[in-house]
């Protein structure tokens, strides 16, 4: 479980996060949604420790992350798998090299075990015959899947996704959503997803936190979000004609 307790974050005079508390549960997908500029990316990066928070606590399992020194934080980070918005694959490395890299850095596996683990992860994300290709030689959807394979290769306890479906067509986005859901159950991870994709909300939203003006405005799940009377949330969720028609 990841717990964020009363966290606040400002950049100079700009108060981006205001006293947010959030619990992300194990074996479930925890979605952070909100408009652009609402503070959801800052919230995700604060939970990850990329941003230093001004107030509050972040707790990973039984460990208070915010009280840890650099070395202890590095150790926790080895239990975290992160998929960045653009994939953040290393351009100068092949698909295989990208995925094996965390194993080479942090595991004590033999070469053969590492290769087997990479094979398993590639199979798991349904990628075949791409080992020797460079990130620039594969499609956006494949890049996302490689990034997911790299994120899970060390068998992490915590999985983070920043806008996993941005730039993907709706069909590929559903494939990625389903993959995230399956991995969350299979690996029993605490999965935190930062998104504004309403399809993801409807497909895999076990727990959803709606961030509005730097505050946690609403919390619920994918069934509850469709019937809420929260005005700001409704304005966000049913902004498109398709969603309004669906509601009717």
């Amino acid at each position: 479980m990841i717990v964020a307790k009363n966290i606040s974050k400002s950049f100079d005079d700009n108060h981006v996060l205001n006293d947010i508390s959030l619990t992300c549960k194990k074996g479930e997908t925890n979605l952070i949604i909100g408009e652009s500029g609402s503070g959801k990316t800052v919230l995700l990066k604060s939970i990850l420790g990329i941003h230093q928070i001004d107030k509050g606590q972040i707790i990973y399992g039984d460990d208070i992350f915010t009280d840890m020194n650099h070395k202890e934080k590095q150790k926790i980070r080895q239990e975290i798998g992160m998929v960045f918005q653009g994939g953040a694959l290393f351009d100068s490395s092949t698909v295989f090299e990208n995925i094996i890299f965390p194993l080479q850095m942090f595991s004590k596996m033999s070469k053969a075990e590492m290769h087997n683990r990479v094979r398993f992860c590639l199979e798991r994300v349904n990628l075949h015959n791409v080992d020797d290709l460079y990130p620039s030689e594969i499609s956006g959807g494949m890049q996302k899947r490689v990034a997911i394979a790299r994120a899970v290769v060390l068998n992490p306890k915590y999985l983070f996704f920043d806008e996993p479906n941005s730039g993907l067509d709706p069909k590929t986005a559903i494939v990625i959503d389903n993959l995230i859901k399956e991995l969350t159950i299979d690996f029993n991870t605490v999965t935190v997803i930062n998104t504004h994709d309403m399809n993801s909300v409807a497909e895999i939203g076990d727990n959803i936190a709606f961030i509005y003006n730097g505050q946690k405005w609403w919390y619920g799940n994918k069934e509850e979000i469709m019937h809420t009377d929260n005005k700001e949330l409704n304005d966000f969720v049913f902004a498109t004609k398709l969603m309004r028609d669906l509601k009717k």
Partner: protein, 233 residues
């Protein structure tokens, strides 16, 4: 800087990175050093030869002038300035692009010390290979001068060769190598620093790259004066 010099997390990966950088920064710079040095040596020789008008000035000074110019200044400082452009821009654009595409953040998130992982192999590769490139440049520069004399007869070839051997001070090579080690450190670190803290897009990477090359060139010139004063005074 403190993080850059932290002990590498995995020595096998670190060594691989060092060899990769030696190839990229050092071996891939051989051709440009060769071209610049051969022409530099030839031009220094011809300019010296054509500017000696007084009959009592011995002609072997052309060889001596070429040798000392190459050894003292051209093979270290000028080659370092050229490498600041080529290698510095390469380092800045590589790290800057990694930064804006969140690859550095990805490394940090994995628990990798990105500063050490990315920058230290470049520093080691530069410090190891640039002195070798300088020695290579000295040799090629002298060869360029020899070829210029051979093909133009600007001075008798025997006088030129005699000048090359005349009053040779081995410390000039040591002085040049000390300079180039410091220049190598500057070339590997300054562009990396500017790129590591870049924010924005491709435009900012370009600006960081320019800043890295300009600042490292200025520092090379500044340290050239300081080291010369310390070592040759």
């Amino acid at each position: 800087m403190k993080k850059v010099f932290k002990r590498p997390q995995k020595s096998s990966i670190f060594l691989n990175n060092v060899f990769f950088e030696i190839e990229k920064l050092g071996i891939n710079s051989i051709m440009i050093v060769l071209i610049i040095s051969v022409f530099m040596g030839a031009v220094i020789t011809l300019q010296t030869a054509y500017n000696i008008e007084l009959s009592f000035v011995p002609l072997y000074l052309v060889g001596l002038g070429t040798r000392d110019s190459m050894f003292l200044e051209f093979s270290s400082t000028i080659v370092a300035l050229i490498l600041a452009g080529k290698v510095g821009a390469n380092i800045a654009s590589e790290i800057g692009t990694m930064k804006i595409h969140e690859q550095i953040e990805a490394l940090n998130m994995m628990g990798v010390n990105s500063e050490s992982h990315l920058v230290l192999p470049k520093i080691i590769a530069a410090v190891l290979t640039f002195p070798l490139l300088t020695l290579f440049s000295m040799f090629i520069g002298i060869l360029g001068g020899y070829l210029a004399v051979y093909f133009t007869n600007a001075v008798p070839i025997d006088d030129f060769v005699y000048g090359l051997h005349y009053y040779f001070i081995p410390f000039y090579i040591t002085y040049s190598l000390i300079k180039v080690v410091i220049f190598a450190f500057i070339i590997a670190t300054i562009p990396a620093y500017h790129a590591y803290y870049v924010q924005g897009g491709a435009l900012e990477v370009g600006k960081a790259s320019t800043k890295g090359v300009v600042y490292s060139s200025i520092l090379i010139l500044f340290f050239n004066v300081v080291i010369t004063q310390i070592l040759l005074s």
